[in-house]
Every structure is written in C-alpha cells, then in structure tokens.
Amino acid sequence: MRKCSLSEINSVFAEISKSMTLYLPVDGSDGSSAFSQWTEGVKWSESLNTTKSPKDFFFPQTEDLMAFKTSGKNIELTDIRKESEDFVVFGVRACDVRSFDILDRVFLSEPCDSYYATRREHSVIISVACSHPSETCFCTSFGISPENPDGDISAWKTDTEVYFSPNTEKGALLMDKLSSVTEECSDEAVVKQKEEISKICSRLPNSKVDTNTFGGGKTAELFDSPLWDKLSEACLGCGTCTFVCPTCQCYDIKDFNTGNGVIRYRCWDSCMYSEFTKMAHGNNRLTQKERFRQRFMHKLVYFPENNDGIFGCVGCGRCLAKCPISMNIVKVMKKFGGEKSEK
C-alpha cells in the first residue's frame, strides 16, 4: 500500500498525465460533478458521484462508427475511428467499477464490440472507496463493497491522505510510475476507514433492499403482476434514468446525412422511449407500463437469467436522485417485497 498526502494529490495527477490522459470527477458550474480531463489547476471533486456515469468512456453517448461519402453516384466507405490512446479514469466508485463488468458481459461477449473493446483495453481504472455514502446508495444489495472498490488500482481518501493499492498488472505498472510521488505505508488508516464505511452502510435507509424476489427464472411470476400499473402510472417516458444509469447499455444506430455523405453513428437509446426498438411492424411495447416494466425486468430478471445471476443494477442511486417523478428501482424492488425485514 502506498499513500500520498491529500494536499499533494495534484502531483499524482500530474505524474499520470505525463504519460496518459487522466480523467477524474470535477465540479461543474452547476454544482454537480462530471468526469473531465485533468490539467494543471483542475480540482478533484468532493462529490460522492458524478451525474453521468463513467460508462461514457467506453460506451459514449454518441459515437461515429463509419462514414459514407457520396461523389456523384459512387459511395465510398471510410472507417473514421481514431487511434486509441491509453487513458486513466480516476475516482471511480465501487458501484461504477462493477458496472464495467456488466457492460463487458454485453459488449465483449461474441461477437465482440471492437469499438468498446479497444477503449477498455486502453484504460486504467483507479477506483476510490466511498467514505460518505448517500441515502440513495444501495450497492451492498448487489454484493458490492463500497469500502473495497475494484478497479486496476483501489484508492481510499481520508481527511489528509490518499491511499493506493493496485489490483491488476495494469494497476501495478501505473503504481510503479507513481513511486516518486507516493510513499510506502501501512494499511492502518484504510482498515479503519473500511470499518467506518461498513458501519455507515448498515445504517443506510436502503441497505435492506433485497434481490431475493428477483433473479433469473422469475419472468412468469413477475411479468403480469398488477403492481406494474401503479408503479408506472406517473412515468413520463423520459430517458433520465437510463441515461444516468451506469449499466444501461441499449443503443440505436442511425445515419446522419451531412449533405455530402452519411455518418453512421450509434447513440444511447432508452427503453423508456416510445420509439424504442420500433420495427417495421410497429412497436413491441405499446404502453409506458410495458416500457417501464421492461427496464426493471431487464435489470432484475432477464439480465441475471442470462449472466450467471448477476443483476443489471449496481445500486449507484443515480436514478433515485434524478428521476423527475421520483420513481425508481428501489421503489420497484420494495413494492415486490424485496426488503429484508419488516420495516
């Protein structure tokens, strides 16, 4: 384990930036944070989590896939991918780190998504433990330890120090590069913080959210439940939950006519939208209730069914904070009885 004093953290950032582009959570003018590139003078945000999840690094909201140029009646196809360079994402929380595993299962399984894969290969993730989880957090329900985040390097931030511990080869390599700005230390402070975090986690209002009601094989039981009517009643059909979600991975591929050619791009799509997966015959899901149900059934039933029981939610709580009408996965889970003990 190595550490660096919090006041000197910028020297770590500077060191990383020498060889790779570094991204980290930075406070925006509106008070919320977002991942931005670090340059001299940029401050690491104190916030618990960014509004948009870091999935953008691997699965950007919009991404040009290829271009067609028309000249006269000829069409010329060009690959417009840029050369990928190594980059570091610093300050990723445990939940978001887990989300990469979920995304990997989608994009890296055959046929592998080469756009996604390239970016994953070129990234180093430095996670950071959550010293102050929010009331919206429920990652523990999915077996995630906020005190013990994964990633290539795990980090812990105390009032005075930042501690680092590499988990992977990539992480160890990067740690080596940081030897001049960090020093070897004991894990005493980290152990203490871990205990504190665990204690707080047990007091979180959503700590009792239980996944037992859900999981693979529950489709028949849950699909026609009358509860969906009430739950989806106020849903506006906007895409906020899906767009702030670190694990939502649906996308659409569209062509943009530039006037002298076409750019084929992919962009996030949302199962909440009435146009989602619209096909020649029309829509699969005609009502907002069906669309609403799809999102939660996907995360809590279909995904684990196809992915060794792993849920498609990491409990980051973004949808709890951002839904315009405050309807969210926790409310859905609780309504279906997913709560550990009587409240």
């Binding site: 028309t70 006269g72 009646k73 006519n257 006037g259 029309g282 829509n283 005609l286």
Partner: protein, 664 residues
Amino acid sequence: MQRIGVFVCWCGSNIAGTVDVKAVAEALKNEPGVVFSTNYQYMCSQAGQDMIKAAIAGHKLGGIVVCSCSPRMHEATFRKTASQAGINPYMVEIANIREQCSWVHKDMATGTEKAIILGKAAVAKVNLNTPLTPGESPVTKRALVIGGGIAGIQTALDIADAGFPVDIVETKPTIGGKMAQLDKTFPTLDCAACILTPKMVEVAQHENIRIFSYSEVSEIKGFVGNFDVTIKRKARYVKEDICTGCGACVEKCPMKKIPNEFNLGMDNRSAVYIPFAQAVPKVATIDPNACNMLKNGRCGICAKVCTAGAIDYTQKDEYIEEKYGAIVAATGFNPISMDKFDEFAYSQSKDVITSLEFERLTNAAGPTAGKLLRPSDGKHPHTIVFVQCVGSRCSACTEKGKEYCSKICCMYTAKHAMLTRDKYPDTEVYVFYIDVRTPGKNFDEFYRRAVEEYGVNYIKGMVGKVTPEGSKLKVQASDLIANKQLHIDADLVVLAAAIEPDKSARPLATMLTASMDTNDFFTEAHPKLRPVESPTAGVFLSGTCQGPKDIPETVSQAGAAASKVIGLLAKDKLTGNPCIAKSDEWMCNGCSSCGKVCAYGAITYEEKEFRLPDRTTKIRRVASVNPAVCQGCGACTVTCPSGAMDLNGFTTTQIMAEVDAICK
C-alpha cells in the same frame, strides 16, 4: 427515388453568356436520381418542349428539372409540357438560372458554379415531389346578399340579371338602407328616392330574387361554392304574402307614440307600421315591444280592420336553411353615436342634429314634410352651423371617434349647405372644416358652387364648444385663417358624424371566418388587386362594409362584386390549387393553433376516433384542411409544433432538402 431528367436552357445568350450550360448539364448528371441531362437553346420553344416530352417518354422520367428563367415566367409552360407527356404537372421544378444567376453575375466561373448549385437544389426537391391533383368541389348556383341597401340591391340585381338566383337578407322590414333616408344626392342633386325606389321595385319583381326582409343570418357553414346558411325570419306578425300594404292597420293602431326609426326618432309611428311609402316589401310589421295585443293580449284592432286577414299574432320566428355558392356582405354603415361629444351639446339640445337627421328634416317625406324647421320649437332656423369631421380623423380616443376619414361628409355637407341656401336664402350658413376633400367627378366644382354661388361661409377651423343658451346655440369656433376665435349664435348645428360599420358586421365576419380590420370594416383579399373579395374564398364585399364610400362608388363596387360572384357561379365545379396545407391526423394533437393563424378559415377541427396499435381506440380532436378554401400560404405549418401540418409542393422535407443542397 425518382427518375429525373434535367433540361438546361441557354435562353440564347441570356443564360449561356454567363453560365456554361454544358458544364451545368454535365454536373447535374451525377446527382442522385438524375438519369438524363441535356441542354438546349430555348427550352420554352416548341422544339425545346418536344425535346422534354421525348425525354420523358424515352427515359421513363418521373420528374423533371428545368434550369431556365424564373418559375414565374415558365413554370406553367413546363408543367403543361409534363402533363402532355403523361406525368403529373407538379413533378416539375424550375432552377432559376437566368434572373437569379446569369443576369446578376458577370463571371462565367461564378455563374456556372451557382447554376449547378441551384440545379442541385431543384433536383433535391424534385426527388421529394409527389404527384398532386387539384381538388374539385361543386358549386351551388345561388348567391346570398346580406344587406338590402343600395350595395346589396345593386349586387343582387346584377347577379340576378346574369341568370343566377339571389336571396337578399335584410334585418329591417324593408330594403333600401341608408339611401332611402336621404333627400338629394351629390353632386347631381338627384332625389335619392327617385333613383333608388325604381331599383327596389325591380328587385321585388325580379324572378331571380327573393327578399328575406326583417330577417337575419343566424348560421353559416361550409365553404366556397357550398355554403349552408340558416336564415332567421323574425316574426313580423303579418302574413307577408297576404298583406297588401293598404295601411288600414297603421291608421287604426292606437299605439301611435313609438319613436320612428326611419326618421331617426324625430317623429312617431304606430306599433304596426310600414317604414315608408315606397317600402319593399310593402307590408306592415308589428313591433312586438310596442303592440298591446302582443304584450298583454288587449287590443287586436289591426286584425279587425285588416280586410285581407293578414294579421297573425301567433307568428313565430322561422328558420330557413338554404345552400349558396357565394355570399356577398353588404351590411353597410351607421353614423357613430354623438353621446360622447359633450362639447357639441348633442344630447343637451334638440337643435344639435346629425347630418342624417338633417336629411330627414329636409326630406319631403320626413317629419317636417321637407320644411327646414328646428326640432325644438319648429321655427325656421336663420343661422345654421355645419361642423365637419365630427369623430372622423380622431385618433385621440377610439371609444369616441374613428381614426379614418369618413369620406362622404365633405360632399354631403356641401350639399346640405347649398340646398339650405337655395331654399332659404335668408339663412346664414357656416361650415367649419379641417380640410375639404373633394376628389371625385364634379365634386370640387360642386363644393365651389356652394361657396361661390350660394354664399356658404366656409371657415377653416373647428368648433370647440356649443352651448345652448335660451333658444340659441352659442357656437365657439376658431377661424384659423383670420386667426380669430369666433362666437356665433346659431339656431341649428349640424354635425357631420363619422360613419362606422354596422354592428351586425362583426358577428357576420365571425360566421364567415372573414377577416376584419380594427375598425370592423371587412378586409379585402388584396387592397389593390382584389378589392371586392374577402380573403375567405367565396365571400365578396359590397359597399360601405368594406370602407367608407359614396353612392356612385358603392354602386360600382356592387357591380364588381356581382361580376366576381357571376364568375364563380358560372363554373360547374371549382378546381383548387393543389399546393395547399394538409394535416396528418395521426400526428395532430388538436391544439388548434393552426386555425388561429389561418386567414381563410380553412381549418376546422373534429373529434375523431383512432384505432391505436394496442387495439384500443381513442377519440382525439384533430385539424382538417378544407382544400377548397386553403390558399397555400403555409402559416399553419410553422405554427404546428409537431409538424402535423405540412404544405403540398413546399413540404418541410423538400425545403430542407433544398437548404441541404445549397449548403453542401
């Protein structure tokens, strides 16, 4: 994608002088959809048109682009060519490479480059063109004239003479309107009745004209060629077909103290009345507010004296529904109320009167049998002050006066002054004016005669105050030329009140969805080029409902409106312009913004049932465009947030394709 042919015209050297037409044709060959591209010296010539026709046949073209002069020149020509070659005429687009390219640019390279871009835009547009067919609707060969004044009478007569049936709806018990109340008419001093009443009789006797007097239009539906109108025939308690107009009832009616509207309340009539001797129809009408029999069942004298048995106290309002192809608004005018002009003491003194009241005072059939006597004491007035522009050209207070010039006052005041001096040379006559406006044939001569021959005192300046004092009216005025304040002891003051559209015009306009200006005059479709048509198709304007005008002008406008109506009714069916708006009912959300901006009232809303993909049904309000009424401006398309409203021939995607092509 269409199979498009491109035809680049040289226009001799007009285009070819600054545009390399061959290069343009060559460049456009590569555009998407283009299968044929050529150039020729004169595309509009017979040989050029034949070339287009041959290419359409030979290359199975679905659409053509002609790069030539302005579409305002030859779009119609090439549409006809296309149509002759068997393709829809609206599959033609023109790239204007003459007026907007070769003629305004000097350099060959620049001109050619721009011509190619304009050609590309036209190709991009024609790729999205769809065949359009003009809608057709039948025409009901009957016209409705609303208002039975001289405007309505003349319009009806002209239409009827052309062989089309016409109905006149008049709210009063008789037709004749304001002109029937006038004494003499300027500048010829014909007696109004002498020239009007023969026309009224002609109307009554015309086989093609029906008169609905004492009636109102209560509902109008439909559109040009196909109006459905409901006419309310108010109960007049006299059977119109039986009454002979003998006047026995009028004579015997005990209720004789009812202010006589026809004489503007300056004398009285009975509860059962005939407005004036030459009324058409000449039948009696019972005033339900005055008749004792109708009010409390105590009387019934008129029924007893009527030998024809025409009195019917049980009559009810009757509603008639009729179809019309065209509607003429001829609702006329009224003098504005003088109540707000305290300075002229109109409401304080009976001897301050309006010009229309003066007409009745000097009319042989009027309350004084044509003798000019003061309303207050019946004495002959020796000093008369006429005040012009009372309430006209008044922008200070819209509640009080009108901003516009009422146009007729200068002339009738000159007439009044002249006639007064003619009949009663011992009277002093003063006319206070701001300007004297006499544009019109023999108008200025007429006015000069009043001044020079009849010795009327015209004074530039306004009257500021009229104060009744004893039997006199103290008139305080200014003489601007002499720079004096004048004080005149007058016996009679005559106010040339501004005129305003009749109150019935506003609700009528709403029913017709015809537009009005802020003064409630009907708006014409174009102030210069279509002055007798309303923007609402099938609605025409006659007389003062469109703006102040005198009798000769009214009559000529009435004739013009009639000729427009005849032109419409002569058609068996109406062929519309296919470049009109269309509403996609699946996208329309019924917000009704489009209807608000439609100047023609072409958009209506209905509740429609939709079957949704989930097999449920939903009733929604949606807009629909009447193709016979829409003129194709596109105002609605931009108001519509969802894009449900689009414009044929200029669709959103077509215009955007043009933008894209130009900005490439």
